[in-house]
Amino acid sequence: MSDRPATDAAWTRPVPVPDDVTAAFWAAAGEGRLVVQRCADCGTYQHPPRPRCTSCAGEPAYTGVSGDATLVSWTAAHDPVVPGRPRGLAPVTIVVVELVEQPGLWLVSDLVGVDDRELAVGLPMRVAFDATAGDQVLPRFVPAGDPS
């Protein structure tokens, strides 16, 4: 799969709008770091971010994570389902991954040019910072066995 394009120039991805709760996530992504909210009181990770810990109402703080994950689910989405993607291109494979730090700690990502027959629940994945939406670097996940 070394011929897989890491990004897809024809796709104008919707641009994340950082806010008071999420700005630190996007700033870290811009530096090539994956951070996730973790509760300072009970230690639970949560994503997407919330103003408080949804387990104990404690204070969440962004914490660096390994970027290692496993595949939870995927779908090859055809146009016009995918926002900002011109018609006629190959489908985008939207994926959900579970970070190794905590069961149920799921993030959404995508794969472009992947052969879906290689995918399976539990497939090891790793984070990459190889795509942008506008000027924002996006954390994405690729199969851990792929060459970078």
Binding site: T75, A77, H78, V108, L138
Partner: protein
């Protein structure tokens, strides 16, 4: 403990507008037709209506939402010349039509009104269906930039994992979808009343977001359906056999995953919802003679079957084979064609079909002898709900 409002309120009338795909006729006229039909069906005149309840939200992003044109909210009927005596209304922002039914039961039981009109009107906009924003704020910032926006990928991700974990094959869904179309072919209110579907049609349909193909997605329509609810005491004096609201519950369970649907969230939300219906009514899964299970996307029916306990976890694709959910099967499901084939009415088609079945007014698709109809509407992302209707006043 059973519900204090168990069978205190009954459905006394049901009415349908014409059903179209795209049309230049304002949606308010469809709603007017459905309301007039429901009120006449109940043997009443419009001035008897003193309560209004709906869930008016358009189902697509970018909707303009003009009252009476592409949405029908409470304001539309408050502008009607007959609506001078309306003393109560409810307009749900989440929860879909079962929320409106539940609100109306509470209002009628409390004496806030005596005759409530409950409706849902749906509209197909011109041009491309739905628009996407170029910016993604809030939770969407963590999903939309990756292509994950809207109900289609949300459902596809849940369905893929369901198939992987259960060992099911998407081809087996043909039984449910073709069966739904067969039912619609016997329903004059269905947009696909005259269009048949074979298993080959289903298997040849184009992919939308695999494993969801085109025919796993419901069909958008422009139409309105209305119910008239009143107290059981009054309903006994009206011409139609009363259909009693034996239970009505709301999904309130918190979702573990907010960026897309999951099978786990559906069961976690659906099981306590259905348990609440059994507790309120005193009935159980074995009492259900016909089930109307929300099918905005076909796999939702599988999740509802499992959440309600009609079969075990991961068994629903097997359960729907061999005619088991057909009109003459062990558990008839979506006998009017559901959202997949009657048309996307966000659950109001399911409610109306349940009423017709219990009144023995379902014509060529009538189930033999249903005493209780289970209606489960929505999905965890939409805070759906459930209603249990009965022919007898429990």
């Amino acid at each position: 403990m059973t519900w204090a409002n168990r069978c205190v309120v009954a459905v006394a009338g049901v009415g349908f507008s014409a059903v179209e795909r795209r049309t230049s006729t304002p949606l308010g006229r469809f709603a007017d037709d459905a309301a007039a039909a429901a009120i006449a069906d109940a043997g009443l005149t419009p001035d008897a209506v003193d309560g209004l309840a709906t869930y008016p939200t358009p189902p697509f992003e970018g909707a303009v939402a003009r009252s009476g044109e592409d949405m029908v909210d409470v304001e539309h009927f408050l502008q009607a010349p007959w609506a001078r005596d309306v003393g109560w209304y409810s307009q749900a922002g989440e929860g879909m039509v079962t929320t409106s039914v539940r609100d109306a039961v509470h209002a009628l039981a409390a004496g806030a009104c005596t005759t409530a009109l409950v409706w849902r009107a749906m509209y197909v906009p011109p041009g491309t269906y739905g628009t996407h924003s170029t910016a993604a704020a809030g939770d969407a910032a963590f999903a939309a930039p990756y292509g994950c926006a809207g109900a289609i990928p949300w459902h596809a991700l849940a369905y893929r994992r369901y198939l992987e974990l259960s060992g099911g094959r998407r081809e087996a869904m043909a039984a449910l979808v073709v069966g739904s179309r067969n039912n619609a072919n016997r329903n004059p209110h269905a947009v696909f009343a005259g269009r048949t579907m074979t298993e080959q049609d289903y298997l040849g349909a184009r992919m939308i977001a695999d494993p969801l193909c085109l025919f796993d997605c419901d069909v958008p329509v422009t139409a309105a359906i209305a119910l008239v609810l009143t107290t059981a005491e009054r309903a006994h004096d009206l011409p139609r056999p009363p259909v009693f609201v034996a239970a009505a519950a709301q999904q309130t369970t918190r979702r573990e995953h907010r960026l897309h649907y999951t099978m786990g969230d559906h069961v976690a939300a659906g099981t306590p919802l259905v348990d609440d219906l059994w507790r309120q009514s005193g009935l159980g899964v074995g009492d259900v003679g016909v089930a109307q299970l929300y099918d905005g996307f076909a796999p939702s029916v599988l999740y509802w079957l499992e959440a309600a306990g009609f079969c075990g976890r991961g068994e629903a694709l097997d359960f729907v084979q061999d005619g088991r959910i057909a009109v003459d099967g062990a558990l008839p499901v979506n006998t009017g064609g559901g959202s997949l084939s009657q048309g996307r009415m966000h659950g109001m088609g399911h409610l109306a079909e349940a009423v017709l079945q219990l009144r023995r007014d379902a014509g060529a698709r009538q189930v033999a002898d249903p005493r209780a109809a289970l209606v489960l509407v929505g999905s965890p992302m939409l805070r759906g709900g459930g209603v249990l209707l009965t022919t007898e006043q429990l």
